[in-house]
Every structure is written in structure tokens, then in C-alpha cells.
């Protein structure tokens, strides 16, 4: 029996310095989105692929919840050594929070029946840091967060892990399997996927699943299925910084003027 590792990944949004907020004020304008695989997921995928490469029968399946654009990130995962990629999407999933996403992932896990589930500690765009843990909760599986070392032999019922705690403290623990682990940056060195392998991975199929395939209904996902809703997204007022230029004397004079201005004195 092959050991199956499911890696939950997310295509995140990165932003340039210049961007605009959407007209409804609830998100950044999609025109400014730069999409990429979540940084943490690079590490969790690498950890799974390393187990596969260490020998034995291991299947690495990457799963994401997202629209068609997310295929690009899944291809990158296939290029880096994932065996299969699954993308779950339905229009109704738009606006899901981490709980709703976890519900979809938990359904996918029941469908795939993996022996291990890896997730990133958090996503770089929304930073909920709760999806992986929520999945474990929904499944009733053991879980561990912020894992930075993972030791496991194929077929074992337990794994030894090391976690990062506050103040630089490390914790070693055993965990029963199957389990959900959220993986921390630095646990390994993610490999480089050359553009060529990514291009070759384009030929590999990406399975797409919808609500029905996972026996979910529209009320369990999207905004209606979420426990939280975005009210407003905005850029806070920035403080001012100014480089004072000129000769030393000029600089000093300018600085004095600024101080006086703040004090409210007249020059």
C-alpha cells in the first residue's frame, strides 16, 4: 500500500508598491494581483517530495481551492515532484474564509484518504494561519502547528516532530498518524523548478472537482459558509519621512526650521 501525502497549497496574491483598492472597498483591485504559490507551501511540498525521494511507495498529491488561475501554481508543484494535482472550485466558493476553505479541504481529504496532510503555517496574503488547524478539527485528526523538523518512517503509526515555540524554544513531540501538520519556513531548502520542468508539467493533467464531487452544498462555502466577513480593506495614512539634502549648513538650517515648525514657533 502506497503512503499518500496530501499537501494543501494556496495561490496567493502579491502586490506591487502601486495598487488600488477595489471600488467596493473590500479587496485590492484584481488588476494589480500578482499571483504566486504561497511561500510556506514551497516548504511543505518539498518536505513531502523528500519523503518520496527517500524511497518506498509514496504518492504526493497537491490540493488547492481556487479558480482556474491557480492551475499555474499547481503546475509548479507538479514540476517540483508532486505526482498529482487537484483543484477544487465552484463559483459559490468565492469569499470563503479559512473555516470555509478548511471545510472544502476536509471533504477533499475524506475523498482522497491520505496518510498525512501537510499545510503551510500560513498564507502570505491573508495570514489567517488557521486553515490547516481547522482542517484537523473538522476531521478530528491530531495536529501540530509550526513544525520545523519531521522524522517519519514509512508505515509507522507515529512521527516525531519538532515545533517552534515563542522565545526561541523548541518542542519535540510524537504525533499519531494520520495527522495534519502545518509546516514552517526553513524546514528544508525548496528546490528550484526550472522553467523547462514547469513547461513539461503543463502536459500533466490537473483534476478539477466541484461541490458535488465532494458532497458539499453551496451553503457550506463562500461568504454564507464563513464565520467571518471582510468589512473593509484600506491603506492606513503613512507617516512622513523626508531626506534633508544640501551642504551641512543648509541641512542644519532646514532641520532647525522643521523643529521650529513642529514646536509651533515662528521663524
Amino acid at each position: 500500500m502506497a503512503t499518500k501525502i496530501l499537501v494543501a497549497v494556496k495561490q496567493v496574491i502579491a502586490l506591487d508598491e502601486d495598487f488600488e483598492i477595489r471600488a467596493d472597498g473590500k479587496d485590492v483591485d484584481a488588476d494589480f494581483f500578482l499571483r504566486d504559490l504561497n511561500e510556506w507551501d514551497d516548504f511543505s511540498l518539498e518536505e513531502a517530495v523528500k519523503i518520496k525521494e527517500a524511497g518506498g511507495e509514496v504518492e504526493v498529491v497537491v490540493v488547492t481551492v481556487g479558480p482556474e488561475e491557480a492551475d499555474e501554481s499547481l503546475r509548479k508543484c507538479l514540476a517540483k515532484g508532486a505526482d498529482r494535482a487537484v483543484r477544487i472550485w465552484d463559483e459559490s466558493m468565492e469569499g470563503s474564509d479559512s473555516q470555509a476553505i478548511a471545510r472544502v479541504l476536509a471533504a477533499a481529504i475524506k475523498h482522497e484518504k491520505p496518510d498525512l496532510v501537510f499545510a503551510g503555517v500560513q498564507s502570505s496574503d491573508h495570514s489567517f494561519a488557521s486553515t490547516g488547524i481547522a482542517v484537523a478539527g473538522l476531521l478530528g485528526w491530531p495536529h501540530a502547528a509550526v513544525v520545523n523538523q519531521f522524522d517519519f518512517s514509512l508505515g509507522a503509526t507515529q512521527a516525531t516532530i519538532r515545533r517552534e515555540l515563542e522565545g526561541g524554544v523548541l518542542q519535540m513531540m510524537n504525533i499519531d498518524l494520520p495527522a495534519v501538520l502545518s509546516i514552517q519556513l526553513g524546514i528544508n531548502t525548496p528546490r528550484y523548478a526550472s522553467l523547462r520542468t514547469i513547461k513539461q508539467a503543463a502536459a500533466k493533467p490537473i483534476e478539477t472537482l466541484g461541490l458535488g464531487d465532494l458532497s458539499l452544498n453551496a451553503a457550506e462555502v463562500g461568504e454564507v459558509g464563513s464565520a467571518s466577513r471582510v468589512r473593509r480593506m484600506y491603506i492606513p495614512e503613512k507617516g512622513r519621512a523626508q531626506m534633508i539634502e544640501g551642504s551641512l549648513a543648509e541641512q542644519a538650517a532646514k532641520l532647525a526650521a522643521i523643529i521650529k515648525e513642529f514646536k509651533g514657533a515662528t521663524v
Partner: protein, 710 residues
Amino acid sequence: MIDSLSITRTLFEDFRPLAVTIFYAIGYGAIGIFLWGTWIQIRKYRYGTAYAVTGTLISRFKQMTGTMLTHRTLVRRDHAAGGAHALIFFGFALLFLGTSTITVEYDILKPLTGMRFWYGDFYLWFSLVLDVAGFMLGGGLVFMMWRRGWLKPPKLNYARPDRSPADPDYDRSGYRIEDWAFLWSLLIIAVTGFVLEGMRLVWLQGRPEVWDYRWWSPIGSAFAVAMRDLGLGAETAGTIRSGLWWFHGLIALAFIALIPFTKVKHIFTASASLMLRDPLAAQRLPRVPDSQESVGFSYITDLNWKQLLHLDACTKCGRCHEACPANATGAPLSPRDVILSLREFANKTLASGALPDQVELDIHGKSPGQVSMETLWSCRTCMACVEICPVAVEHIPIIVQMRRKLVEAGDMDPLLTKTLQTIAKTGNSFGESKRKRGSWTKALATPIKDARKEPVDYLWFVGDYASFDPRNQKVSQTFAGLLQEANVDFGLLYDSEQNAGNDVRRVGEEGLYDLLATANIEAMKNAQFKTIVTTDPHSFNTIRNEYGDFGGTFEIEHYTTLLRDLLTSGRLEVTRPLGYRVTFHDPCHLGRFNKGYDAPRDILKMIGCELIDMKRCRDNSFCCGAGGGRIWMPDPVGVEKPAQNRIREAAFIEGLEVYVVSCPKDLTMFEDATKTTGNEGRFVVRELIELVREAVASPVVLEAPVEQLA
């Protein structure tokens, strides 16, 4: 009167028929061994992958012969060794031709037709020429011995920068034995030839047809006269001659038999290598065919047959070793050692009729014959090695092909990995937003046309450094101002331009290069322009030489030729000759790669600068260290960087005011190196564009456009 027919040398004079038969048997045996050895070498090359030779063999043969007869590549940067080689080469060639001439008469013409020509005047001139040839050969050999034994130039030291003294293949002492054996055996053949000649004269001194014409063999007869005066009798001379004859003959035949197994084979391999020379080997790297499963070189059998042949052409002359900027600054790379390692590897694994297991063919690693990752990543792809190699060995394609394999396996510096990912994501190495590519133009009073929206004469391909690096942005703004003042119609691709890919390709990330080149070509095709101009030699090279393979053939020039034209035609006028004492750094990709040595120098002259070239200039320019993607990799700490080495060279120029560059990366590298070598304040680093700006202080007022006059 002596019958001219008797003025000749009787072959095998006084030999018993059996002796002659034995000699012929040994001769045929030697030729047999030679042929067998040749077949082993050919069989080795046949293990390589396919390579299609372009152009006609005749034109290639002509070019090779020209190179060989002029010794053009051999005298470069080492006149003495080149000259000595010429003595050996021409001496050897004449002696070989002479022996062949005798064979033609004695073994072919005379037995078949009874015809003879090797007598009389022809014979006498023949004797004289061959004596001179023998003298040349001996003289050349003696010089080479003196060079190896006493001069000991550092480039002939085989100690390797990529191995430590404890490694078994550290100094390749085996090669030194071979070098000396080669010199001594040839010298012994030459000297015994003269002695033999002298002994024959003493022996046959009684025959006027021999003795009276002795001075046609000046060296042999000088020796003969001396020996005779010392009391050597004819009979003794005859005995010595018989013994020496066999000694001389056997060494010569052994020499022939051993050609394919020793460095002597360079007679053939170097000629073939020169004939197969690709003049754009470093400028235009090989494309990976779409059908090819794996990328790059993993195994020795991934090299093509031409490259396997190149490995055998190397004569360890050390010119590349000396020219390599990585080697000069202590990096674990010598182009010579890459070639020799792979040669040794090929000789070990491809010598038999069957291939060993594939694992045995892996050329990556640290075992003898393998090339390590550290070595491959030390290369700046500056082309100094390829350019100076006298026998046309092409190191760079091999190094880049091996790097392609490393990139595929992810075996590279983490910073490089990051940069490649950044370029894939944003299209530039600075990780800036695509939209900001044209931001530097905002500081200009007159906006620059968008070549995607309106036709222009010149499409300016700006490149990453000139677009995003703050120091270089200033240069770009200055160049734009100059073009505007000269009323040049030009435009940009703005955010449709991406990294040109030159260095990405030289790193070995061919997939990413393909993506960048294709995107740029598409953007260029969507714009209307006559010529591309760029201030970046790296972009210049790849667009000029490599985009063609990806479907984009464009006319392109480096800004130096455009500025020279503008200055020559008076569209830019020098109003303030500068009078600076300057030196000019030839960028690898403008100079060696594309032979753009003159335009920048012409400009410097036109703007009134006094140019003092550094010793390493033009084709011997010393790389700043940024090429081949090295700008994205950290240099080891505490070791001299190539740019520092270069600035120290410039600092020797008395009264130097400006170190002139014409490449954005050079500006960055050398401004930094000027500070770190403590030369700040002694001289400044300037882009040539900035000097032109200074010299063309006030804009030339040109005729107003017609509509304004109306």
C-alpha cells in the same frame, strides 16, 4: 665531369636484403599501430552526440590552413613560444615532406616506371633545404626546453586551482613527463639525423660525387669535417653510421606509431579543431531542441563528437589559464583544467569498444576527471578562454551545458535561485514591478515615445540595469537627453520589455531564457522601428546573435556606434573638449563578443580625451566579474574580486583621471571596486555617455521643423 645521376644518396647502401626487409616490416608495423591508435580515437569521438558541420569543408579547410601557415593564433600574447612553434612546425613539416618525396621516388615511381628525379641539382637543393629544416626544428626544440626548464612561465604550471595538493590529480605530473619525452625524442631524431649525415660523408669521403658537394648539407658537413680532423677514419665512420642509422630510424618510427596515443596527436586534432571552429561559439549558445528529453550535459556521452575532439586538441599552452578572470582571482576554475579533466575522463571511459555503466559516465563531481559545481559556477562566460585558444577549443558551450544540468537539479547558489524566480515572476532581476520599467523617464523634460504606439527609427532596448539601478538610471536619462538633442527619433517598449535573457542563458536556465526571448521578440515585432539601440552590451549580444534562433532577426547597434555617428555627422557637436587623461575598459560583450573595440575609442578621441589603454585591453580585456550570472551570486569574502584586480591595473596609469566604461554592469562593479581598493578620490569611473554629455555642453540648434517655420 661527374654524372648528375650519381649525385644522390643511395638508400640502404651496404644493407643486406634481410635488413631492408626487417626495416620495411618495422615500418609497416609502425604505420599499423598508428592506424589502430587513430581508430581508437575516432571510435571515442563517435560516442559523442550528433553535430552538423555548417558551411563547406573547403572554406573551412582554407581558413584552417591560413591559420596554420600564418601561426596567427599561436603568436598572440606569446611571440617567443609562437615563433619557436613555427620553427618546429615548419622544420618538421619540411622534413616530413622530404621523407615523403624520397618515398615517392624510391617506393612508387622508380619501381613502377623507372623514373627518377632525386638526383643532381634537385638533390642538392633538397639537401640544403632539409638541413635548414632540421636546424629550425632543433632550434625550436631547444628554445622550448629552455622555456620549460628555465623560464618556467606560470601558465605552464599544471597545478590546479580546483584541487588541493593532497588530491591525486592535483598537478598532473604525468603530463610533464610526456612534455619532456616529446621534446627529447624529437631533438634526438633531429640530432642523430645530422650526425648520421656527417658519418656518411666521412665514410664516403673518397667519392667525389659525395665529398665535393658536401657543403650542400652544411650542418652535416661541418660535423663531418670536424670529426675527420679529429682523426675519424672512413671505416669507423661507416660502422657508426650503420648503428646510428637503425637508432635514428627506430626512434622515428616509434614516434610515428605513438602519435595517436600521445600529445603528438595535436598535429591532427588541433588542425581538425581549427577546421571545425564556430566563430560564435560563446556569443550564440546552443538551443535545446524541443524533442530533447533531458537538458544539458550530465554524461561524457552528452558532449557532441566535435566537443570530444576539441578536448583532444588542447595542448596545455595555458593561454586560457592565464586569461581567465576566475583563475586570476583564485576561484576554483581554470578553463584549461575543465578541458583536460574531461579529456582524461573521456580517455578513461570511452577507450574501449563498449560503454561502461551510465553511472561511470557522470562528469559532475569531484573525482578525477569530473568537474565540480564550484568550478562551473565560477565561470563568468567572459569568453577570454575561447577567444585566445590557439586551437579553437570552445570552453563556454561545454560549461554552460553542464550548468544547464545543475540548474535542472537545483544545484546552485540560493541567491541565484531567488533571482531566477524573481525574473520568472517579474521579468527583471530587480524584482521590481513590470509597470515601473519606464519610471526613470519621468525625470525627463521631454517624454520618450512609446514604440508600441507609434513608429520610431530607433527602438531603445534599455535592459534591467539601465532601467532599475538608480546610478544607471541617471546614465539612461543622460543618453535620452543626448538623443533628443540630436533629434533622433526613438522610443521604448516600456513595460513590454523584459530582461533580455543574455545572462539567464549563460547561467544555464534555458527554459527561462526561451520565455524571455520569446516575449521580447513578440513585443519587438509589435513595434515599428528600423533599428534597435541599447546601452547594455549583454542585451546587445543576445539580441544580435541569439534572438535569430528564436524567430527574431533585428538590426541592432550598441550606443557607441550611434553616438559616434551623431558626433561625426555633427548632429552632436563637441563644444568643450575635455582634455582628461582616461583609460577605457572594453566590456566583454561589446569587445570580445562583438568586436566593438573602435567606436568607444573614436568617441573618446572626438571629445578630446587622452586615452591610455591598460595592458589588458581590447581582446585581452579583463572581465569585471559580473558576467555569466555571477552578478547574482555572492563572491567569496576576503578574496580579491575581478573588478578590484582590474581597478588596481588601471591605478598604475600615471595621472589617470577617468576610468571610462560603456556597460551598466561595469559602472556598478567598478564604482564599487574603486571604493573597495582605496582608489576613490584618485580617479573616477564614468559612463562614456556622461563624458559625451559633458563635452556636448550646449545643445546644437538644428533647423526647425518645416511646420514651425511656416
